[in-house]
């Protein structure tokens, strides 16, 4: 299995081996350890504030939806 001539292969395919992209690193980091929920947990409140400027209105709507 280890009979591959890595030295020759690496020299011929430098880009394949060493041209790593940002997205690959980001994705790889995401696979380390427990899964995380990066979604917004308080999205109801946040959405409400996108549309209503008043704290009082927002609270009423949030309570209604909760």
């Amino acid at each position: 299995m280890m009979a591959v001539n890595w030295r020759a292969l690496l020299q011929e395919n430098r880009d394949l081996f060493f041209n790593i992209h940002n997205e690959e690193i980001k994705e790889g980091k995401g696979y380390l350890g427990a899964a995380a929920n990066a979604e917004k947990v308080e999205s109801v409140k946040e959405q409400v504030f996108e549309y209503y400027i008043s704290d009082v209105n927002a609270r009423l709507i949030y309570e209604k939806n909760a």
Partner: protein, 481 residues
């Protein structure tokens, strides 16, 4: 519900119960939307920090046989106030008292340790002379962050004065990125050996978690071996060191026998060490950025001090030395400098009233410009980068009301108003108790405390009753507070 473990045992479980280990939680602290769920329990980054600090506190108390309620805790120089505030909340939950907590930047702490060690050795043979003011660049590359600070160090008798001149933007680049580069490389090798494209390997996300977890541990082991066996073997023409291992039941029941040499690994991590690499981030860019902020060239730096576990790796150290064209200062074990410096600062700070000599004065600065943004307007500069903390300023009538019932204020940070990486730190809402005429001016008071935590107060100019205190863990309307 299982038991929680914190420490080396947890680390050792990375390849056994890989999907039940929380990694790199510090990278997400201050972000309340990042939540890990294991069984049915949710963990925020702040919860994880609290648990780690609780264990640390319990151990100190057991060792000394008395209650400990104060500490100096270090944070990256580039942490923003949300990140510092969240760390502070974790420490409070762990049982530390708020007024006995001090946060100093990691590079500053490391520098204090360096000065102290040099001072201890001055009777024997001083290597680095701090008797005259010096500009020191501290490069701190740890597990998850790359922090650069330029500081002016002045020693007057027994007093130390450390003035931060500029600090880098928050750069999430550390050991984990170096590991992933090696992991991707090994996956390429696996693809060739088995004649498949690893990117197209059909598998469940759990399989990917397993693959990345075990390979990242292998790369970490390889790097430790390269560090221990290749010291002294540097430069072109040195002999190579090879790490070999075999992983049973790696994928679809098959084992994976592999090898990686130091030269191969160094080639893999090259983009992380090279300015303008294709990744969009590397260790050189934050150095250049910080030099620019301080209006200094690399030749103006008297000493370069390396801190953090990753700087123990010779290839990283060589990249920095090549950039500066000179030798750097580093310790045999750069992992302990930061904690030692923090303990030293704690001692001097607690005893400053009692002792006449030997004071440590630190002048921390703000890492990036802080802007206030009101909908449909250009952001207004509130605090410039480099402003020394503590700081207080009132901006009278800085913005105008465009709505009769309230105004939404966005707090942003970045290099300039055109910075594409501008971050929204917080959104706050000033709701008026009485209806206000549109066009009425709003005043803002900005305060930075010694821990670099930002506090804002906003009020209708001339009407102090219509105000909001936007100290960030209170009155913030978004985050469920």
């Amino acid at each position: 519900m299982g038991h929680e473990f914190i420490g080396q045992l947890a680390k050792n479980m990375k390849n056994v119960e890989y999907d039940r280990v929380i990694y790199n939680s510090k990278n997400y602290i201050g972000n309340r939307n990042h939540v890990w769920q294991i069984d049915n329990k949710k963990y925020t980054p702040e919860d994880v920090a609290e648990k780690i600090l609780s264990v640390a506190k319990a151990n100190v108390e057991r060792f000394y046989g008395e209650r400990v309620d104060g500490a100096v805790i270090t944070v990256p120089a580039s942490f923003n106030h949300d990140q510092i505030e969240s760390t502070k909340n974790a420490a409070k939950s762990a049982g530390f008292l708020e007024d006995r907590l001090i946060f100093i930047s990691e590079p500053t702490a490391a520098l204090l340790d360096l000065i102290y060690e040099e001072k201890l050795s001055d009777k024997r043979n001083t290597i680095h002379d701090f008797s005259k003011p010096k500009k020191v660049l501290v490069f701190d590359l740890g597990g998850g962050t790359c922090d650069v600070s330029i500081m002016n160090v002045e020693i007057n008798g027994d007093d130390y004065k450390v003035e931060e001149l500029a600090i880098s933007p928050h750069t999430q680049l550390g050991g984990v990125d170096f590991d992933i580069c090696g992991v991707l490389y090994l996956l390429h090798k696996y693809s060739i050996l088995n004649d498949i494209d690893h990117k197209r390997m059909p598998h469940h996300v759990d399989v990917k978690r397993y693959i990345f977890s075990v390979l990242s541990l292998e790369i970490e082991k390889a790097r430790i071996m390269f560090s221990s066996l290749s010291s002294g073997l540097t430069g072109e023409g040195y002999g190579d060191v090879v790490y070999r291992n075999s992983l049973e039941n790696f994928y679809t029941g098959q084992s994976f026998e592999f090898e990686i040499s130091k030269k191969e690994y160094d080639e893999c991590i090259k983009p992380l060490l090279t300015k303008g690499g294709n990744l969009g981030f590397n260790i050189i860019d934050p150095i250049i950025d910080t030099l620019n902020k301080a209006n200094l060239g690399k030749e103006d730096i008297d000493e370069v001090f390396l801190v953090g576990g990753m700087t123990a790796y010779s290839t990283v150290r060589e990249a920095i030395e090549n950039f500066f064209g000179k030798k750097t200062i580093s310790y045999l074990d750069p992992m302990y400098s930061v904690a030692k410096g923090a303990a030293l600062y704690n001692y001097y700070n607690e005893n400053k009233k009692k002792i006449e000599k030997g004071k440590i004065i630190i002048y921390p600065v703000v890492a990036e410009n802080i802007y206030l943004d009101v909908k449909n307007n250009l952001p207004v500069l509130l605090v410039s980068q480099g402003t020394k903390a503590p700081y207080e300023k009132v901006h009278e009538g800085i913005v105008k009301v465009d709505n009769a019932t309230g105004i939404k204020l966005d707090i942003l940070s970045g290099k300039s108003i055109y910075d594409p990486k501008m971050k929204r730190l917080k959104s706050v809402q000033l709701t008026f108790t009485d209806i206000i005429k549109p066009g009425t001016p709003i005043s803002i008071k900005v305060t930075f405390d010694k821990n670099r935590i930002l506090h804002l107060e906003a009020w209708v100019t001339g009407n102090f009753k219509q105000r909001i205190d936007v100290t960030f863990d209170k009155e913030v309307l978004y985050d469920g507070c």
